[in-house]
Amino acid sequence: MKKLLIHNDKVPNIHTLDVYRAQGGYASVEKALKTMTPDQVTEEVKKSGLRGRGGAGFPTGMKWSFLAKPEGVPRYLVCNADESEPGTFKDRYLMEKIPHALIEGMITSSYALGAKTSYIYIRGEYFYVARILEQAIAEAYAAGWLGKNILGTDFSHDCHVQVGGGAYICGEETALLESLEGKRGNPRIKPPFPAVAGLWGCPTVVNNVETIAAVCPIVNMGGEEYAKIGIGKSTGTKLISASGHINKPGVYEIELGVPVEEFIFSDEYCGGIRNGKKLKAVVAGGSSVPILPTELILKTAKGEPRLMTYESLADGGFQTGTMLGSGGFIVMDEDTSIVKNLFTFTRFYHHESCGQCSPCREGTGWMEKILHKFLDGTANESDVDLLWDIQSKIEGKTICPLGEAAAWPVAAAIRHFKDEFLEIARKKKFTDVSHYNRLNKISA
């Protein structure tokens, strides 16, 4: 199994510059600055087929080539370390264990983009991780990897960390930029896109932590070699955050293309379902992506094994497929209430809606209210239709995709588990067995 990002996460003191360097760290900075032009670095990233790891999967090389380069205007690279999509914790792992992997990526990527300054915007709750990054940055300055004339070249670069204040919406790239400017995290209307008018109105590239870290191995091995890893348009490796009812929750780096069944059941990864229970459903790419029942997550509607790739997970569209998203892989066992889990998601989106668009602000609130009726045992069968109706009126009608992210999980839960909603409505009773006594079992 090929690992490129967290292959040395268990090396003692890998968070320090000395150990990181001894493991071959900062090689991509040396190679890029000394032997390549900025455009050549971008070219390698294009060849690699790397796609954004923040959730949308947009080709990174293409995004970089859109960056406007007007004379005399600074350009910025901003790292999206807001990581708040429920089920996702891979960026935290990478930054906490191997902070220099991100910093190295920031320098190499900034060289390609011609950015003299970069910012790492990290969610405020990860304050302690921000400290770890700051220490690593201080080490990098002291050793000349950051600052004036890096490696004696005329490339100079400053990298800073900014903490947020607690808001999922700041993961949306234009809300992030607003927040970085010291404002409320209200997403901007696009266009203009950040590549033209981003931070303080200057051309800006926003990339996820993992995307930026992946630039280092791409520069080191060459884009073509990187593209050989994975399957088709899903090149390279991906960090998957695995949680829920599995024996071995945690962060796994997989080569894109591993079968979902192997990922869930093999001891190399999740190690199967806890307590000998059966698999019921999986949310494969963070809370925003459609939930799939066992039959459809293990195999596509056509009966082919489902693979951990952008394409295979999306096979069948939203009718029978889902998305790779951020790689937040939440596994649910047979006792799980899909309705209750959906309620936690919807409550989340209602809480996190910034409030600018009525369909999102009001829709998320109404969906939470109706779902609460199911938990109360006061819902009617017609409430399922009402839920469906509300979610269908959000998609495509909002400034940013949070509205859709809130609607999709509701639609998918009803699509695949309608009977569960109807049963509660008929019995007028909700019985929560899903986590019954689970805690006592753990502590025993």
Binding site: P74, E83, S84, E85, P86, G87, T88, F89, D91, R92, Y119, R123, G124, E125, F127, Y128, R131, D158, H160, Q162, V163, G164, G165, G166, A167, Y168, S179, L180, E181, G182, K183, R184, G185, W200, S241, A242, S243, G244, H245, P249, V251, V283, S287, G328, I330, M332, K340, N341, T344, F345, R347, F348, H351, E352, S434, H435, R438, L439, I442, S443
Partner: protein
Amino acid sequence: MSSQVHGVQHFDKAKRAEIKFSEEAMKVVQTIISHYPEGKQKSALLPVLHIAQAEFGGWLSPETMDYIASVLKIKPIEVFEVASFYTMYNLQPVGKCVLEVCQTSSCWLNGAEDIVKYIEKKLSIKVGETTKDGMFTLKVAECLGSCGTAPMLQCGASFHENLTYEKVDNLIEKYKSENRLRSYTDLDYKNTI
């Protein structure tokens, strides 16, 4: 919550004068401001509010927000609109230790509700309330990026993961005996329990 309209009330002048960063904190604030281009010091607002919350009693009083506005040379309303948008800033006084239990999917699947109920019973408070001795405030939070180690709670800078009732007992004991304000900015973030 934020029903008091900031900037309209008449604040106690004497109280406002007391609010001033220590020399050490001011240095940190100046360093943060230096990370942004000339004239873009407003960008420092979010991190500076965290420092202010830690320095001035765990919450952002109207006086504190006015002071921050003066430090960053921006209008008080610009501070308030930000402080009221983000969840990590307290606009009302809180206990010394704010326990924030994640209630989202992965944590719920692993018994987060039981943890909330357990703490409610143990401290005789409900979610959103503070104990009479001003020691603990109990809150619920949305996914804190610790889903693989669920259930979990955050207190200040520390993440307490893979929670059990026993772990909750221990950390409450520990915090009680230490008896100090816990902030996101704390340096001793190591998860010790």
